[in-house]
Subunit: 248 residues, 2 copies
């Protein structure tokens, strides 16, 4: 198994950095190969816009999907986007490692979705969801949160974690991935904020690292989150007699 | 009433640009004042990271909240962040105008949340939600989607729009805003993709512009989305006997 870890945290000594290092060590120890896309270290530009498209399909009006399709057809995708796509094509499993900022992924990772999942090249109106480009591959989120676990329970103050991560997981499914349940590390904060002693920080970090390694050792057994797909929909809406309408 | 429109689209002739211009015209015609924060035009940097903090609280380990609090205490916030906060402080109503990209706001606007809503300065553990800094002010999303309306209905293929926008709306509420229901313009796509004739594009644009102006003329009558607040929670979780647990 070959794994791509897309890593999105600015701190080189952060919990997130440790989790990415733990994933690499654990997977390599299991005989797998690992590649890391470190968005901050690479200086990835998350802003989709005209500056990435010197040869425009429409000089008059900039529409991202129009330009993505055009650049893709001409083989003129931006270099960093082409590199990320190559990395994705090699991977059997994609892990997105990030801290939850404002109930979502950091901007640098949001822009990775905006720019790398190229319209025309990697998806079209008919080539998405369970007919998506990456079908047969697996993807999962590994997320740290500042708030404690109870805040993210169904009636928690922070909002149910499934609801917060749904737009991201659904985007991965949109591209055809089998999406595994996310791995969560709750109550992770800056060393100067939540931990009275340096050893409290280190103890929490050791606990989080252990839990993540355990999860990864058994990742082959994980079953993906079930989503509805093309056979379930009637003109874009779940068919009225579909059993899931009554189960949810 | 003074309104701040935070505008996040790279195309100067886009639907989004027209909607922002429509909002300005409509509100000014109603005797209100309007300010626009055009994130693309301003070259806003959405990436939170060490490069914004020359004078660090912790040189050893970069944690965004630690550095935000430190810079805020020293009065050394980055210039663009200080400018955005000044704009927010002047506004009675904040409108976020953006296209739905990958089930969320574009990266440039996601980074506006990551960087501008400064820990320490604008919120702390006790100064958030209905005790948040911007309580008494109103905020709302104005969103264009590529998919048609039926895709975003409760059983739609794109996922219920309320669920997609929830992380963003909840972030506004977290800062204390009274959040109005979003304004949606569905089925908006690049001129080269969805519209057979230029006049189809213009006709759709006229329809969308009209609906948005109508909404804004009556914006004073809008009631905010109800959220639970401090009095409803018991140690971070909605109290077991709270009526909303049984109503949802």
């Amino acid at each position: 198994m070959h794994t791509l870890i897309v890593h999105a945290h600015p701190g080189t000594r952060s919990f997130n950095a440790t989790l990415t290092a733990t994933a690499r060590q654990t997977l390599e120890a299991g005989g797998h190969t690992v590649e890391i896309s470190d968005l901050y270290a690479d200086g990835f530009d998350p802003v989709e816009g005209p500056h990435h498209y010197p040869d425009r399909a429409d000089e008059h009006r900039f529409a991202p999907l129009t330009e993505q399709r055009h650049a893709s057809e001409l083989g003129q995708l931006p270099g960093d986007v082409a590199r990320e796509i190559d990395r994705l094509e090699r991977a059997d499993l994609v892990i997105l490692q990030f801290p939850l900022w404002w109930h979502a992924q950091p901007a640098i990772l949001k822009g990775w979705f905006d720019r790398v999942f190229v319209y025309g090249g990697l998806y079209t109106g008919s080539r998405r969801y369970d007919a998506g480009h990456f079908r047969g591959r697996r993807a999962m989120l590994s997320v740290t949160t500042g708030g404690p676990r109870r805040s993210f329970l169904p009636y928690g103050r922070g909002g149910p974690i499934e609801r917060l991560l749904w737009p991201i997981n659904y985007s991965l499914y949109y591209m055809g991935f089998d999406v595994l349940a996310p791995h969560l590390a709750y109550g992770v904060q800056g060393a100067g904020i939540a931990y009275r002693e340096a050893q409290d920080f280190e103890r929490h970090l050791a606990h989080v690292r252990h839990a993540w390694a355990e999860r990864l050792r058994h990742i082959d057994d994980d079953r993906p989150i079930p989503f509805t797909g093309w056979d379930d929909w009637d003109d874009g809406v779940l068919a009225a007699n579909h059993p899931q309408r009554w189960a949810s």
